[in-house]
């Protein structure tokens, strides 16, 4: 195993410049000029931890990944300390090496994409008027279809369906019947002689009941069972007995047809 005598000089690099713990590890390996296949775990582990400690603010999202790597390195360090009983046993570092190699390939390809991106973002293409696209039926290559496009299409269809199929209007059972109210008001007018209609309406909290009472009063007026009087605009409306007496039959019949 190669040993690194001295800690590298200079302040540790900010962790945020590394895209992950593997990136930092590759950086340390390169900086120490050691082989990826023979990583000096003791020294690398210490340097890795030094970088972690130097972090003033640990971004919680990525901190976990770095801490996990630190614990793995410690684990490897402890394994390396144990005497090797079996000569044919696997090198404990093997998995780490494989992860690093896989990541290095990705980094290599990413740097190729980076260079390509630098040049290719400088290319411009003809700006085609959007109305040309709007005129023709949108056709998608199956290559362009991804699950999100499908999900969006599904949502669009469901939205159209919902728009053309509005929820049914709920018809609540009638709690107040015009004929009942007619009977009530008629009897009230007969017994009291004079009934203030607006005060009567205002004392009802349920708008449905207010409407029912109003319709019932109008119906009674139409049948001349009661008369309505108002002295001036917006003044109280008084109901008093009309010039016809309504039989229970008439009230009931009206009620059954009307309401």
């Amino acid at each position: 195993m190669t040993m690194v005598a001295e800690e590298p000089q200079g302040p540790p690099v900010e962790l945020s410049v590394f895209s992950g713990p593997l990136d930092l590890l590759l950086h340390l390996i390169k900086q120490n000029e050691v082989s990826i296949y023979d990583i000096p775990i003791f020294s690398i582990c210490d340097q890795f931890n030094a970088h972690l400690k130097a972090m003033q603010e640990l971004d919680l999202d990525s901190a976990g990944d770095f801490l996990w790597m630190a614990s793995w390195l410690l684990h490897l360090k402890s394994k390396m300390l144990l005497p090797q009983v079996d000569q044919g046993a696997e090198d404990p570092r093997e998995e780490l090496v494989e992860r690093l190699l896989a990541y290095r390939r990705v980094k290599e390809l990413a740097s190729f994409l980076h260079d390509s991106d630098i040049v290719r973002r400088c290319l411009w293409v003809p700006e085609v008027a959007a109305d040309v696209d709007a005129e023709r039926e949108q056709e998608l290559d199956w290559e362009d279809v991804d699950l999100r496009v499908l999900a969006q299409a599904y949502l669009d269809v469901m939205q159209k369906f919902a728009a053309s199929h509005p929820p049914p209007i709920k018809v609540l059972p009638l709690r107040f019947r015009v004929e009942d109210k007619m009977k009530d008001i008629y009897e009230l007018v007969r017994s009291d002689g004079l009934v203030p209609l607006l005060r009567h309406l205002n004392s009802r909290s349920d708008p449905v009941e207010v409407v029912t009472v109003m319709v019932a009063a109008l119906e009674l007026v139409r049948l001349r069972g009661v008369f309505a009087e108002q002295r001036s605009p917006f003044a109280e409306i008084y109901l008093r007995p009309g010039d016809r007496s309504l039989g229970a039959k008439e009230l009931l019949i009206r009620g059954e047809n009307g309401g």
């Binding site: 593997l22 999202d61 390809l109 990413a110 630098i118 699950l147």
Partner: protein, 182 residues
């Protein structure tokens, strides 16, 4: 249709198309049985070669299985100044790594990307989906049924590739690197 008209038609299509133009698409547009695919392909090549000169501000390139009209990269500063556009946003290192993983191993799941990168890539993947460089392509039939991701056509166009397989082999690139060092 004679060759001059065909060339003119192809040029006009290239100028007005919103994406890469394929040979079959041109064949369908001209609807002339006497014109063969080879002929149309040769026209594209000829137009491309003809534009490949310093006094031309137009270029033709073959991407994503088709041809598209574009500009030489060195003219970018003038075009940005003309259109009043600041430098376009670069892709982050994390985004490039995710793209590299997907391009190289597609279809691939998020947990696989996380494992290779050694860090969480969820937000990067979401950004790349929004930018249209990645697309979802089904679910993997394993526990949790994670989504599978592939690179999109826009990815090929942006990086000037005909197919995702045209990306260099990272092993080869590393070999080249060590060869130059030694």
């Amino acid at each position: 249709m004679d060759k001059d008209t065909l060339t003119a038609v192809v040029e006009a299509i290239l100028l007005t198309a919103s994406g890469p133009v394929t040979v079959p698409a041109v064949m369908e547009a001209i609807d002339d049985r006497k014109v063969g695919e080879d002929e149309v392909a040769a026209i594209f090549e000829a137009i491309g070669e003809n534009l490949e000169r310093p006094d031309s501000g137009l270029r033709l390139e073959k991407v994503a299985g088709g041809w598209r009209c574009t500009t030489p990269p060195n003219l970018d500063p003038y075009l940005r100044s003309f259109h009043g556009i600041a430098a376009r946003q670069r892709l982050s290192q994390a985004a490039l790594e995710v793209l590299a993983i997907v391009a190289h191993r597609q279809p691939v799941t998020l947990p696989e990307m996380n494992f290779i990168r050694g860090t969480n890539s969820a937000s990067v993947v979401r950004t790349l989906l929004d930018r249209g460089l990645l697309r979802m392509a089904g679910r993997k039939k394993v526990v949790g049924k994670p989504f599978l991701y592939r690179t999109s056509k826009d990815f090929l166009v942006h990086f000037g590739l005909e197919r995702a397989e045209d990306l260099p082999d990272p092993e080869e690139m590393l070999k080249d690197e060590t060869a130059t060092v030694e």
